[in-house]
Amino acid sequence: MEIRGCSLGLLNMDRFELLCLVVAGIGILGMLLVGWGYENAVKVGEIKDEMVGVWVKVCGNLSGRYSGENWFGELRDGTGKIRVVAFGLNGIRPGPACIQGVVESYKGELEIIMKRYD
């Protein structure tokens, strides 16, 4: 780095670069600490009308069956139940599962259009 002597107040260029690295270090440390084991999953009971159109991840007990290529069922956890629909998604089995999808409203009720099945 050939920029030398540049300063604003008490900071010269080398110190400024060190400051940048310290800030970045705090950032990465914080990300690792706060993000450890984070899955961005929500409880069924937390899904509200204002979440229509939002992608969510929900874990619980999945029940239902295929009708043609599409899956119709529901997901329950300790906080409630919600209807789940999947179009053309293979390999879905009833039982404990984490699903990801978009919250939609159908005939006045909330449902999840499943996009991923873990």
Partner: protein, 392 residues
């Protein structure tokens, strides 16, 4: 973590190449999301990192090439003056100090923002058009030639009104010819007069002014504008320009801060006021549910990204300034002029070219009439004022 690093790389690309906005890249990549190795959370961090890095790097083309976007448009003017005095690096450094400062400030004051921002949002929202009207009147009355100032303001404002009342192109695309025309091309055309080479760009300078006041002003303006609907960093830049210190160095620090904090707050607003305030925030909203823990991750991510972006910006700008000093400036300006016109034609077609030509003509007027060039920002201000009056 890999998503954050890739986001920083993508942000370098969008920041350095005029005309590519993170929104455009995010929408483009979203259409191929099934092919990407990211889960929704990873993709959100990627876009967030890209947008934040973009706010640092985008000052390089704005200052060195006179190729701005809406949020950096006002930096062209002092930035170019610094460049012609051999202080281009200093101008970039000042914007970087502002950018890094506001991210640290936002992180430190986040607990306060949890209460302040919702109140601010509901309190100021109905009156923002009145604030902008006040700024507009102040901009015109503070000029010596008031009639000419009024004409320049209204011309740019009507230009914005026509473009934004029925936008033919997506706004991120439309803004490219608008701001290149209003601020970029007039600066470049002016640079062609007489000058054949740039002075040696100083890599070694010393200034003893403390930037914290300028960082604070940029933070406050970016915070207010970033959270209000229909407004953003460009309007905050006008506020700082008109009401901040007239010292160019302080202005560049504030401008660097405004740009970054508006981008950061627009995403944090998803949690703080449950509303997205930028294209990137809209995409993130569709990918993940923003809870408190994710907000904390985003804040720490912003610290990491801004620290790395600050170093990258200074190193890239340093190399660029040395390169510019060695070659014919007239040739560089001509190449950039042709590049901007071709890019406009490629991205926006004949309509964009028409916008570019009109914008350039309007952007040349304040120079010709000896007025402040910030009147060009009326392109966004007048439509918002008219919207507040129920006329748009």
């Amino acid at each position: 973590m890999i998503e954050v690093f890739l986001g920083i790389l993508a942000g370098c690309l969008t920041g350095l190449v005029p005309g590519i906005h993170p929104n455009t890249l995010a929408v483009f990549l979203l259409s191929f999301s099934s092919l990407l190795p990211f889960d929704p959370l990873g993709f959100s961090l990627f876009i967030f990192s890209c947008a934040l890095t973009h706010t640092f790097l985008s000052f390089i083309p704005s200052i060195f090439l006179g190729a701005p976007e809406d949020t950096t448009a006002l930096s062209v003017l002092p930035g170019h003056r610094f460049l012609l005095e051999g202080r281009g690096m200093e101008a970039v450094y000042l914007t970087v100090v502002g950018g890094l400062g506001v991210v640290v400030l936002t992180s430190l004051l986040f607990p306060l923002l949890l209460f302040l921002l919702p109140a601010l949002y509901s309190g100021i929202k109905p009156w923002i058009w009145l604030l902008l009207l006040g700024v507009a009147i102040f901009m015109i009355l503070s000029e010596k030639r008031k009639l000419r100032a009024c004409t320049a303001f209204l011309l740019a404002g009507c230009f914005g009104f026509i473009l934004l009342s029925k936008p033919v192109l997506p706004l991120t695309l439309l803004f490219f010819p608008v701001f290149t025309g209003l601020f970029g091309l007039p600066t470049l055309l002016l640079s062609l007069k007489g000058r054949t080479s740039l002075p040696e760009q100083s890599q070694d300078w010393n200034r003893a002014e403390k930037p914290w006041g300028a960082v604070g002003r940029g933070w406050l303006a970016g915070l207010v504008m970033g959270v209000l609907p229909g407004l953003g960093a460009s309007q905050a830049a006008v506020l700082v320009h008109e009401f901040g210190k007239k010292d160019l160095r302080s202005f560049l620090v504030s401008l660097g801060g405004v740009n970054t904090v508006a981008s950061l707050i627009s995403v944090l607003a998803l949690y703080l006021i449950s509303r997205p305030r930028s294209g990137v925030a809209v995409i993130i909203e569709k990918l993940v549910w923003v809870d408190f823990r994710l907000v904390l991750i985003l804040i720490f991510c912003s610290l990491f990204v801004s620290g790395i972006s600050a170093i990258l910006t200074l190193r890239i700008a340093s190399g660029f300034s040395k390169f510019l000093s060695r070659i014919s400036y007239r040739k560089v300006v001509l190449i950039v002029l042709v590049f901007l016109v071709l890019l406009t034609a490629l991205l926006t077609g004949p309509y964009g070219l028409l916008v570019l030509i009109t914008g350039t003509a309007i952007g040349l007027l304040p120079i010709k009439w000896g007025l402040r060039r910030s009147h060009g920002m009326a392109v966004l201000m007048l439509p918002i004022i008219l919207g507040g009056l129920g006329l748009m």
